[in-house]
């Protein structure tokens, strides 16, 4: 590269990716300057590929950049499930207080408090992308209430670690909503100002070594409507902005706790076997494995039918779980007659009203 400016004390380097001689420097702020010089003289734009923020001291040594130096836009390992509020397997709501709402998000009311929580496709945090947020309509009683993800029993690995929680909230009520971390004791972040804009609320806590785990929550202390979106829990003293997972990973995390079979078309559940003219069993495998042994809920037996030897379907008179494990389960069903012991049989739904769901809440 011509016209090197020696008065800046720049070191010469070779950039193999664009076959140009290029400069790099340890002088504060000069990476940007050098890139500009290069662009001006060569007509070639590096688009900032060699620029960083201002470096005000001699270069950053390998392995010396600590978590505390990271900005919120540096992606880190997201520890929450469904942090983007994109997955609502239980439906769109409204959900009353103390019910699970969006996957893995629930509420707990203080004395006299009530809440209604719904999926909201309009009032979303557009800065974070996605399709949905949670709309929390809260009426205050006398005690603090919470909208939260119950991670407490699944986070023993957080003991003794500093963790940071961030969440996007929009409300027009001041001093109504603030984030908190609970590990047996509460640590709170600042309240939303109530200006009606989306704000990033954050809180950081060093989880006690004697804690069983840690929950992240939105604490509700005044009647309000709050829109909630894009939450992120990370290890470290610096909160991180929500970064979406691949949809497959997002759903897989949710299905560790809840998995629902429901459709307006046929759901075939193959692999069953008749053990008498009126009885059969069939097995469902769990993928991913559930957090604990689940409850299996099946809609009314008349919503289901199973195949006879000629593949004609016979309506069920009973259907329920008879073996449950975190990895698989078995259903046992009955029909009036028409099965042959030892034959295979396929279970399927009769209508769009049919559904079954596994739920494992640790």
């Amino acid at each position: 590269m011509p016209n090197i400016t020696p008065e800046l004390g720049l070191a010469l380097a070779v950039d193999s990716d664009d076959t140009a001689t290029y400069l790099e420097t340890n002088l504060g702020g000069s990476l940007t300057t050098v890139d500009s010089l290069f662009n001006n003289t060569s007509g070639h734009t590096h688009s900032g590929a060699h620029q960083g923020g201002p470096i005000t001291s001699a270069g950053v040594a390998d392995g010396s950049l600590t978590n505390a130096k990271l900005g919120p836009d540096v992606e880190r390992n997201q520890l929450l499930t469904n942090g983007g509020f994109e997955i609502w397997q239980r439906g769109n709501g409204p959900f009353a207080a103390n019910q699970l709402t969006a996957d893995r998000w629930t509420s707990g009311m203080g004395a006299g408090g009530t809440a209604s929580i719904s999926r909201d496709a309009t009032n979303i945090d557009t800065s974070g992308g996605g399709l949905y947020a949670a709309a929390v309509t809260y009426t205050h009683g006398t005690g603090e209430s919470y909208f939260y993800q119950p991670t407490y029993n699944e986070t023993p690995h957080l003991k003794g670690r500093t963790i940071s929680f961030s969440i996007r909230v929009r409300t027009s009520t001041a001093n109504a909503v603030r984030p908190c971390i609970y590990d047996g004791a509460f640590t709170y972040g600042a309240y939303h100002s109530g200006d009606g804009t989306w704000q990033t609320l954050t809180v950081t806590r060093a989880v006690g070594t004697g804690a069983t785990g840690a929950d992240v929550r939105l604490a509700l202390n005044a009647s309000c409507t709050a829109y909630v979106d894009n939450a992120c829990l990370v290890v470290g003293s610096q909160p991180a902005n929500y970064v979406p997972l691949h949809p497959a990973d997002d759903l897989a995390r949710c299905q560790r706790y809840y998995k629902r079979y429901a459709a307006t078309s046929t759901i075939p559940i193959p692999g069953g076997q008749a053990y008498s003219a009126g009885g059969f069993v069939t097995t469902l495998l769990m993928a991913p494995q559930l957090a604990v042994v689940p409850t299996l809920t099946v809609s009314a037996a008349g919503d289901w039918e199973t195949s006879a030897a000629n593949l004609a379907y016979i309506q069920c008179s009973s259907l329920a779980a008879n073996v449950l494990h975190a990895q698989s389960c078995q259903l046992i069903g009955g029909v009036a007659s028409g099965l042959v012991a030892g034959n295979a049989t396929n279970l399927q739904n009769v209508s769009g009203n049919s559904w079954l769901a596994f739920e494992a809440n640790p």
Binding site: T212, L296, T297, A300, L324, A360, N361
Partner: protein, 118 residues
């Protein structure tokens, strides 16, 4: 989102909530039963609760599944009244024995940290 006992009342009638459908109703505790296996034996690790409104059935594991506190209480109350089909607890046994048996099932199923009753 299951069918579960939301109030054990005086023990003669239980209140059932099927929260997904918004159904609430009363049942006799005798309608809560273990599933019967193809060989005719009962599986003592599961209890079935049927929604009195729509017939939806939840099979709850002793560990608790979707509603750990309510389900564990249901198992303890059930074994106290009916004994256990495995033969380890009789109806005449003290309540503490039944509770110990259920706690053992919970520990085996989900680990010792799962027990949520006092």
């Amino acid at each position: 989102m299951s069918v579960y006992i939301s109030d054990f009342g005086d023990g003669t009638t239980w209140t059932v909530t099927h929260d997904e459908a918004g159904h609430v109703g009363s049942i006799s505790p005798s309608t809560v039963v273990h599933p019967v296996m193809p060989d005719g034996t009962e599986n003592h690790t599961i209890l079935l609760v049927t929604c009195p409104v729509c017939g939806t059935v939840s099979g709850h594991p002793a560990g608790g599944g979707a509603q750990p506190q309510s389900v564990q209480q249901m198992f303890v109350t059930h074994v106290d009244t009916n004994g256990c089909p495995c033969g380890q607890v009789a109806t005449s046994d003290p309540a503490a024995l039944g509770e110990s048996h259920i706690r053992l099932l919970v520990n085996r199923m989900d680990g010792p940290g799962r027990w949520q009753l006092g």
